[in-house]
Amino acid sequence: MLLELIVVSVIAASTPLLLAAAGELVTERAGVLNLGVEGMMIMGAACGFAGAYFTDSTLLGALCGIAAGAALAAMFAALTLGLAVNQVATRLALTIIGIGISGLIGAGFVGERITPAPHLALPGLSALPFVGSVLFGQDAFVYCSVLLILAIRWFLYRTRPGLVLRAVGDNHASAHALGYPVLRIRLLAVLFGGGCAGLAGAYLSLAYTPFFTAGMTAGRGWIALALVVFASWRPLRLVAGAYLFGAVTILQLHAQGAGMGITPQLMAALPYLATILVLVAISGTRRMAGSTAPASLGVPFVPDR
């Protein structure tokens, strides 16, 4: 019973990471480093909650979250793609704006509750012990995140537009010479990443906890960024990474609950320390094996240069 509880909560903790990281993976594959995931996520959480509060529908709430994330991503795109501004500094601006605006929106909703996202209930199957709640009793976001990963994998490796997107990320000058609209492809990738981050935020305020608190993303957007590095920009490895991090978060909570006598602040610092360790380990081994990062990652593209 405890194991079942843990597995279910690990899935719940991993889903927002997976959703946000999946979007960022596509963005980075197109050669754009959008570090504003944290800001887009918290915007998605605030707007998703507001949407669900007024419409009383999880689906419409999630759509509001996606729209909010994409809107912030569009601002990022305007600067980094349109004006070729430094991508690191721009993301900071957008993170601060995202946190600020979400605070403004969320201020009206503190303490309010909504109906949490419904869970799947298949007659018979969902009632099975363990398997039922783990496989057939999740909410739509969880299934959505798995489908999203499979779709991204199929798109990147099995379709022509996916090939073009990777070409743009690896060598934008060549892609441009071949006549592909580099900036338009990057714009779409950034918007997609923003939408995914918004959805991840909406998951937090609609399903993970059915209320909104300021700063509720608590650095998950940054961890999602590290996960993309961890996964070597490959969709399936992303799943492994996200679930590993979800597991660390949950075990940390359970260890606190069990009163193991370890200071809670140290336990709470674990996901962040783990991120640093993973980054160091991955970057260290990659250095020897040669980089797998998209070659044009983070390089602004100005045509005719």
Binding site: M75, L83, G100, L104, V229, I276, L279, S283
Partner: protein
């Protein structure tokens, strides 16, 4: 269609005009936001940006709040000039405060003399620099992105501070509030003028501005920093080591952030408590960019952003405007500053589509 064309020379007019355009655009956007929140935009803007300038308390408070911002931002400007991305100044700021406070807590209530404060400042700077070495070494030794590692360490520093203030360092006579005891007089930063709020930390900030200005404009080290950032290949041929540059810029910016942290705690705050920083380390990044990564510019932009902190507080009290507006304002400002930066680097040109194809 409208295309960007790289300028061969930096336009001086654009350098000066672009921050002014950015500020104007921010003010216009803020006015719209105020109107959306149902407030009179003009009186709201006046509360934000004029009222603090009209009384002596507001002016002093601007100097007090600009002190940490300028100290941190001057250090960060060295990093960003060298294309090194220290985003975790907030963490180095907190660790500096923690390291310096250790001495204040240990010597509390003893006969320790006037050496305590100078030693605290040294410890603060040292702590900040050492904490900054973690992302720097991870980058140099393992190639891990310093953006993410320095940022993760902000959360870790925050939790460490929380642990110390609630646990081992908590004032036993403090009615269970999560704070250390008030620092002794020998562990407190003295005031510049008796009876005011301005303390000698402001002098440290001015000194940092002057030193960094001298280094950047008059020394070979300053040239090296700018060359490594602007033309890494040329810098390699010139024999400049980019790894050493990462370590150097992180150490300097970490030390300045740590110094700012202990000055803040031993000065205006007076004790160590969780959440004592309103995010100075993050705001300082905006200060650095708004000041065009130039020490004098940073001094001016630091004072300006300090104004927004105080204006935000006053607007919250007198107009019931949420404090998050200050964040939105600061974010918008950075957003517009970066957008207007393109005016400096590029020039806009109309060109027909066929012409750009042929080129």
């Amino acid at each position: 269609m409208l295309v960007l064309e790289r300028r061969t020379e930096r336009s001086m007019v654009a350098m000066v005009v672009s921050p002014l355009i950015a500020i104007t655009l921010t003010l216009v956007t803020m006015a719209i936001l105020f109107a959306l929140l149902g407030k009179n935009p003009f009186s709201a803007l006046a509360v934000y940006f004029l009222d603090p300038l009209l009384d002596s308390y507001g002016l002093q408070e601007i100097v007090v709040k600009a002190t940490p911002l300028v100290l941190i931002a001057v250090g960060l400007s060295l990093c960003y000039l060298a294309n090194v991305w220290n985003i975790g100044a907030e963490g180095q700021f907190l660790i500096g405060a923690v390291c310096g406070s250790w001495l204040a807590v240990t010597t509390h209530g003893t006969e320790a003399g006037a050496w305590v404060l100078p030693a605290m400042l040294v410890l603060g700077a040292l702590g900040g620099a050492l904490y900054a070495m973690i992302p720097a070494l991870c980058r140099v030794r393992f190639g891990a992105s310093e953006i993410l590692t320095s940022l993760m360490l902000v959360y870790v520093a925050d939790l460490l501070l929380d642990y110390l203030a609630r646990g081992p360092w908590r004032d036993p006579k403090g009615y269970n509030f999560p704070t250390t005891a008030e620092f002794d007089a020998v562990a407190t930063v003295p005031l510049l003028i008796e009876g005011s709020r301005v303390h000698i930390g402001a002098l440290f900030a001015l000194a940092a501005v002057a030193i960094v200005w001298l280094v950047l404009s008059r020394t070979i080290k300053g040239f090296e920093i700018r060359l490594v950032g602007a033309a890494p290949r040329a810098a390699r041929f010139a024999g400049f080591d980019s790894s050493k540059m990462v370590i150097f810029t992180f150490a300097v910016s970490g030390a300045l952030a740590g110094l700012a942290g202990i000055i803040e705690v031993a000065g205006p705050v007076g004790h160590l408590q969780p959440n004592f920083s309103p995010g100075y380390g993050f705001t300082a990044i905006i200060v650095a960019f708004l000041g065009r990564l130039n020490p004098i510019g940073i001094l001016i932009s630091g004072l300006f952003l300090a104004l927004t902190f105080i204006g935000g507080e006053q607007a919250q009290i007198s107009m019931k405007l949420p404090l998050d507006l200050t964040r939105v304002f600061q974010g918008l400002l950075l957003f517009y500053v970066l957008a207007c930066d393109s005016l400096v680097l590029y020039r806009f040109k109309w060109s027909s589509r066929s012409a750009s194809r042929a080129a």
